[in-house]
C-alpha cells in the first residue's frame, strides 16, 4: 500500500525554518501482548527514522515499543538550498520504506 504521508512546503525562502510532517502506516506491535491462547505476539516496530536533506542527515529518531501505531513525526529544519528531502523508516522483519519530497528554495 501507499504507506507514508509526507508534508513538506514546496517552496521556502533561504534561511527560513520549515516544518515537516510525516505519517507512516505501521502496526507498531509492542511484543508485550499475548494472543487468547497465551502465545506472545512477536515484536514488530519501526526502529529508526532518518531524514536527509540533499544527502546530509538533518533529523534522526529511534523508536521504541511505547510509540503508537502509525507514527506521526513532526520536526523542523532550515531551508538552505533547493533539492530533495529523503525519508527512511527501518524496523523489525526487514521493514524499510523510503520516500522523498522536493523543495524549491528561493
Amino acid at each position: 500500500m501507499a504507506s507514508a504521508l509526507i508534508n513538506v512546503p514546496p517552496r521556502a525562502k533561504r534561511g527560513e525554518i520549515i516544518e515537516i510532517k510525516t505519517l507512516i502506516s505501521h502496526v507498531m506491535e509492542t511484543g508485550f501482548r499475548h494472543t487468547q491462547l497465551g502465545a506472545v505476539i512477536p515484536r514488530n516496530i519501526i526502529r529508526r527514522f532518518v531524514c536527509t536533506y540533499n544527502g546530509t542527515e538533518v533529523f534522526r529518531a529511534d523508536l521504541y515499543p511505547a510509540i503508537s501505531a502509525n507514527p506521526f513525526i513532526v520536526f523542523s529544519t532550515v531551508a538552505t538550498e533547493s533539492g530533495t528531502l529523503s525519508f527512511q523508516w527501518t524496523g523489525d522483519n526487514g521493514f524499510a520504506v523510503t520516500e522523498s519530497a522536493k523543495i524549491t528554495v528561493e
Partner: protein
C-alpha cells in the same frame, strides 16, 4: 473495576432519568465534544491517520480486480464526482434483498456482482480503505438517509433496538446517549452517538474502524452478546442512528479518542 463502578453509577442515574430524544438544537457531534488537539489532528490531512486508508482506498478504486477485471473507476469514474454525498445517504434500500444495506455491504455487493471478486471481510483493511475513500467524498455534506414506506419498518426496528434494554447491565443505548450525554463514563465523555465520521480512526483502536465495530464494542460494554458484522440488526441500528443525525455535517474520516 473502575469502569464497572462507573457503569453501575450510571445505571443508578439512568434509572431515574427519562430518555427523551435530543432536540435538534441540542445535537452535538463527537467532534464538538473533543479537545482542541484532537480536533486539530482530524482537520489536518497531514496529521489525520485515517488519511492513510483514504490514500489506499484511492489506489484500490482504480485497481482492476476479480474475474470481470473491472475497477470501481471503470463504472463509477472519478470518485470525487460520482461518490460525492453517497456515504451521507447510507444505509440505503437494496432492491435485491428488499432491505437496507450499509455502505460496506454495498461495496461488497458491487464486488461480488460486478467485479466478480470475493467479498471482503467486514472491517478488513481493504474494505475500510474503500469505505474511507468513499466517505471522504461526503465530508462537509449533511447526512440525509432516505426514509420511505419501504425503509420505515427498518427504521422502527432500529429505534426499537436503540431503546431496548439489553445485556447483563440491562442498559439501552438511549440511557447513555440520550439521557446522559456529556457526562463522564470512566475517563471518557459520553457522546450523543451521531455517526458523522465513520469509518473513523479511534486512538484506542490504533486503527480505522467501521460503525459496526463501534456498535459491537458498545454491546460488549453493556455485557450483551454482540450481533455479527453485517447482521440485519446492526444495519437497522445504523439506519436509525443516521436518521437521528439527519442534517448534521459529515466529517468522515474522523478521529476520535
Amino acid at each position: 473495576m473502575r469502569r464497572l463502578c462507573a457503569v453501575l453509577g450510571l445505571l443508578a442515574v439512568a434509572a431515574s432519568a427519562v430518555a427523551a430524544e435530543i432536540a435538534p438544537s441540542e445535537r452535538r457531534s463527537g467532534y464538538e465534544l473533543m479537545g482542541r488537539e484532537l480536533r486539530a489532528m482530524q482537520d489536518d490531512d497531514a496529521a489525520n491517520p485515517a488519511m492513510l486508508w483514504v490514500l489506499e482506498g484511492a489506489t484500490l478504486w482504480k485497481r482492476a480486480t476479480g474475474a470481470a477485471g473491472r475497477a470501481c473507476a471503470d463504472c463509477h469514474g472519478e470518485a470525487t464526482a460520482s461518490m460525492k454525498g453517497v456515504a451521507a445517504h447510507y444505509p440505503a434500500f437494496d432492491a435485491a434483498t428488499k432491505r437496507p444495506v450499509s455502505l460496506e455491504q454495498r461495496i461488497n455487493i458491487c464486488r461480488v456482482d460486478r467485479q466478480e471478486a470475493p467479498a471482503l471481510a467486514y472491517d478488513s483493511r481493504e474494505l475500510l480503505a474503500l469505505g474511507a475513500y468513499v466517505a471522504r467524498q461526503s465530508r462537509g455534506l449533511p447526512i440525509a438517509v432516505t426514509i420511505d414506506d419501504r425503509m420505515q419498518p427498518f427504521l422502527e426496528a432500529g429505534r426499537a433496538i436503540y431503546e431496548r434494554r439489553q445485556g447483563q447491565l440491562n442498559l439501552a443505548c438511549s440511557q447513555c446517549h440520550d439521557a446522559n450525554w456529556g457526562r463522564q463514563l470512566a475517563g471518557n465523555v459520553i457522546p450523543q452517538a451521531h455517526p458523522t465520521g465513520y469509518p473513523l480512526y479511534r486512538l484506542e483502536w490504533q486503527s480505522l474502524g467501521s460503525l459496526q465495530r463501534r456498535l459491537r464494542g458498545c454491546l460488549v460494554g453493556i455485557r450483551a452478546e454482540p450481533y455479527d458484522y453485517g447482521a440485519p440488526e446492526l444495519v437497522d441500528l445504523e439506519l436509525y442512528l443516521m436518521w437521528r443525525a439527519r442534517g448534521m455535517t459529515m466529517d468522515a474520516p474522523a478521529v476520535r479518542p
